[in-house]
Symmetry: D2
Subunit: 397 residues, 4 copies
């Protein structure tokens, strides 16, 4: 059992608490910190916390607290982590870890020096579909991974601090791109170094300083390409999709808008409003169990099991720092309009990888380019002469 201090009583803090109390049904949020007392008190009432305060350190240091869960605006993560390190409390921190890689690196070093458990709450790398897909990828079902896309687009976040560049550190790249980057990195392989990033970002619609729409490519050392698409200006709900392509297969995952649950309602019958949808009538696409489908349950189970077993969770502060470094490169690229290198002063993966060849020999003298059965029943080969480089067709009879 874990006795948890929640830092932050907003949307994500409540989502976390729902999962924490629901999933293993023996962990408890015992203390809550919020900036405003009335928010802290309300949260404490709602979730049965025995202690609440507007003094963050008091909450972290409280004797009943085993583990601290950071659910605060981005600009407060570092200070909260430093207090956890000071008081030697296990800590799990919401995404993104920092507003930039410098912050993230300091957090990582602080928890490592303090010797405390630290987990990075990257929930979308814990969804049931993601976990199953990763099994397939790891078992080789897709062959060599060539391309991993991830997309998160919706009409914009819930709380005001997201829209403020100083508190958030950026716009939809930090808020949503952090998910997409880590998803692609898992599929391509965490040991493979992300080397450079090309990013387009724009403020297309919203009256804000940060970007509300961005697309980026992340090149990995082994030639694989990661891709993310993020937007706060998408209409139609929350679109969460991943696509992974390899030499031997493809995986498409839809985590929210099209999951086999479709509903039409005239709205006459009821005051019911489907969650997160942009409309309450017509065709709606609810999700069965949001907390589970978004990965919270499997995430906290991994975090607590890891903490109890003295092992690392699947997503660590190191991972958070690598993600921040990729995001930093994306922001630089959006400015310079160049491919920008990913700066990783600490790198614990592999070095010097090159693109693996997957040339297929057809015979001694030819590579196989393609084999196909056409409309008219031809069994056709397209070959390349190894010596001359000439491309030729050949029919199998």
């Amino acid at each position: 059992m874990q006795r948890i201090a929640m830092l932050g009583s907003g949307f994500i803090g409540r989502f976390y608490a729902d999962s924490l109390h629901g999933q293993r049904s023996r962990d408890r949020v015992v203390a809550i910190y919020a900036r405003r007392e009335e928010s802290a008190r309300k949260f404490a009432d709602d979730y049965g916390c025995s202690f609440f305060s507007t003094d963050m350190e008091e909450v972290i240091a409280h004797a009943d607290v085993d583990m601290v869960c950071i659910a605060l605006p981005n600009n407060l993560h570092e200070a909260a982590v430093m207090l956890c390190a000071k008081h030697k409390k296990a800590v799990v921190c919401t995404k993104p870890l920092g507003r930039n890689a410098d912050e993230a690196l300091r957090m990582m070093q602080a928890v490592e020096e303090a010797g405390i458990f630290a987990g990075y709450l990257e929930d979308l790398c814990y969804t049931p579909k993601f976990l199953k897909a990763m099994e397939t990828v790891k078992s080789g079902g897709l062959g060599r991974i060539l391309w991993a896309k991830s997309r998160e687009t919706h009409p914009g976040p819930h709380s005001e601090w997201f829209w403020d560049k100083e508190q958030a550190g950026g716009g939809c790249i930090l808020d949503l791109g952090c998910h997409c980057i880590e998803i692609a990195r898992n599929y391509i392989g965490k040991e493979v170094r992300p080397v450079e990033v090309m990013c387009w970002a724009a403020t297309q619609v919203k009256p804000i300083d940060a970007e509300d729409h961005a697309i980026a490519l992340v090149k990995y050392e082994n030639g694989a390409i990661g891709q993310f698409e993020v937007s706060w200006t998408f209409r139609g709900g929350m679109d969460l999709r991943d696509e992974v392509m390899g030499t031997e297969g493809t995986i498409w995952i839809n985590s929210f808008l099209r999951t086999g649950f479709e509903m039409f309602t005239t709205g006459k019958g009821t005051a019911y409003v489907a969650e997160k949808a942009e409309s309450a009538t017509g065709w709606l696409f609810p999700v069965g169990d949001e907390v589970n489908e978004l990965g919270y349950n499997h995430m906290f189970t991994d975090m607590f099991t890891a903490a109890e077993a003295g092992r690392e969770p699947a997503e660590t502060f190191y991972d958070g720092y690598v993600v921040n470094a990729v995001i930093d490169a994306a922001y630089r690229s959006a400015q310079t309009k160049q491919w920008e290198p990913v700066r990783l002063p600490v790198w614990r993966g592999r070095e010097g990888l090159t693109q693996e060849s997957t040339l297929v020999d057809y015979d001694e003298n030819h590579y196989l380019i393609k084999e196909e059965i056409t409309h008219d029943g031809r069994h056709k080969l397209i070959l390349k002469d190894k010596a001359t480089g000439r491309i030729l067709e050949r029919d199998l009879i």
Copy 2:
């Protein structure tokens, strides 16, 4: 925490144990009964049970056991329940409750007389999508429910006893129809009496005595219609779909084959085989977290929470008995080729319901049949004259 005795070490027993150990992560299967000692021993090893035996009563009566989970062939349910009643052990029983309503009624009466907790393991009434859909239906989002369909078709069950009419009590109606009937009954309202059943059943493909394909209609007292389609001869995997239609809306749920997870594999890269699919290459449709998507997690959570709180679970032996009574009528109907009444010697729901009128007045003299905006921009009404019964069109300008 629940200390559970599992009766049966087969496919479903293992599925249950995976959910039991995984979900709340504090309940344990402590004892296992199987007919063959080697099966019992293997299960005990795999799941860490401290006790195993081929003597069912010994397992049920064991002092460490709080709750008995029946995961046996249908013909052994009654005897197992009677032993639970004798030893005053809480009991949860897999579906269908009995091979027929007589068996089911005796089981229900036995647990009620013994005063023990009893739950009916109808997992498909606990899937995340079903629970969410039920919320909408209960809140009136679909208006009055007119039609509830449920379909379960696949290429046939795993264990040999299913295919034996004596042990199973029947074919795919008992195996799969029990799910569909209870799903429709939930949507239409458990308090509404199922009055008669028309069923077609055939042995279309398999060399067995029981039916491998059936379709039935279940008429409810309030005019709503339930429908089930079940097959052991379907090709393409396990197709689990529900459709609910009401005066104000529609819900479509796909619980297995199309859930937003699509995968193509050449099969060259790996020996991986996707679960339950009929093929291991080409397009496959895995499910993220089967145990959760099939409802096992939410089911056991409800069962144990109910047992601990001293309340009834959402699915009781009474429900299992009603389902068996509908199935009995279906089997009779398949024989007599008539609508057969559902015989319910015990009925605890409402009586004397009639079809609710949903006529819509357009004005004092007319009912509204339909309002429509057509291609060419007409805003058209179809009305019925209350006095003459004549149908007329009228354009709104």
Copy 3:
């Protein structure tokens, strides 16, 4: 080139004319009959017809007319066909052919005696998807067909006469069931005799005398089962789906609501209203080219090519008559609550078919029931002993 007289200037007449003028772009509607002169004149203007009249016979007999297209309420089909026979004009007639099999049989006999070309405008047996699916079924891709379902549900028809039992001859069974029956009959094989029907029908919502919702099973002589689901009370648009199941495969076709075209609109940007949808905002599901997707183009191409080549079209008055006979049985069954025989005084297909056996020998002594690779890697067989009938499991190693 065909010079066509259109009888009827309503919704379906215009739909037909759009297809006729668009598809081969050389056929012309030259004359139009409507009951009201202003409707006839407007249609003539819109489609460039040189002749219009409220006298049906005058239009049919007009010297410029090669072919008559009947797009009238059901109660006027017979009279129109008789006039075509009298004036020896080729005729194509909308669905259903008659209000009942007696009418349909008289029409069939009239055109055959007159020796004129006659085609049955069953458009849903000409959709691109249906035609492609039929190729697969005919080539054996699904093995022996066991079960063919077809469903058409929507919120009700456009014109007032549909809602009037005298003019229409019935409700949604006649209007929509005629499609579903012929679709299933094509898949199962037109040469196979439909023998009996079980039908449930009800007036669930609308203030009308006819049924607004029905479900039926049609048993074929070879053991195959046809199934239709029709409703005028469905909410969410027009749902057109077919499902065909055989011993070796499955086909699912969605012809309208889910065809790979999805759209969300706030409705703020425009006055645009998507066709046939029940709402103009939120998620909508348009169809690319309705006239083509609903089969009109391929239907008229077949009709005219057949007429020009002196051969029969794929859908004839004989087919229309068989469909009416099945519908008659459905209506009787809804009354008697019995399986009702399909009365076919004229039958041109095969006789005396029985269910084909598809038992699979495993070895000399056993039938194969099922072969499966389970979770834990077992390669498992379920067999039946030919002599004893006993079911057994065997593992392949």
Copy 4:
């Protein structure tokens, strides 16, 4: 009626001829040019052409020929167009128009100087779904277009010349990107200037000199972003998807792999192989009527109607030239790793566009960022103070 000379007897020439003969059923391919006499003769036999030759000019100049259809490898387009200009024959040319913008510009200028009809065969801008989506976009249903993606990926082309960089002029960018670019350009508005391109391209799998995978962003003068994803290394069939996002809505189109037609087959029943699929068993996704769904029918209808009416078709050589110019920029960008300007020596659209503001005033002092109804029933606004730029939350009561 059009009397057509087909240049090229390969895969695409046959696809075109199928559409030409099928659609209006009065146009005829009367002459065929192929490089090898046996190919020309076979094509002439198959399609009933009265004339065939291996001399291109002879075919073009033939007295019976009204219109020339170029279905040749990319390196032969220019020479063919020049001969059409010389002989004043109307011409339609397959995509891409040239191997680069210089070739394309010369072709455009030649036909304009010759005063002949010229059409660009960009079929994917004529699919039924595309045409319908364009209607919605033009009517404002999506508001201001922000982002238009198009994706075409498959396992590689059919003929050997595609794989040869000299004949094809490049790899999948030229072959597939040309579609995607023109699709996005239509959605964003043909009058809006594409200004710069960022492209990543790689040879990931195939033993070829050209790219087999590429992703690019195309920036338009008004701030809209076009995006394309193309691959010859995708596994699973041909994936054709477009996504358009605007301030008021979203459109998703799937043109091939998920169109509401799903099929499972064991492959035991038949030798049938579904077209273009990578497998012949398991789950397959056929397309109802390929020639129609891929836009060929509507394309040729537009071309011939335009030629007969003396107007321009929807897709002209000018459009082909703009597409080539964007492709040139993409290839330069893949080399320089910079955003590269689109060089358009001839530009006939609008100039000097800027991003349209869509700021929404909430009141005199605030912009509206977001309005939302949250879980707990709050009706929440996120606003921006116009004077201070501060972001704030406000609840509506």
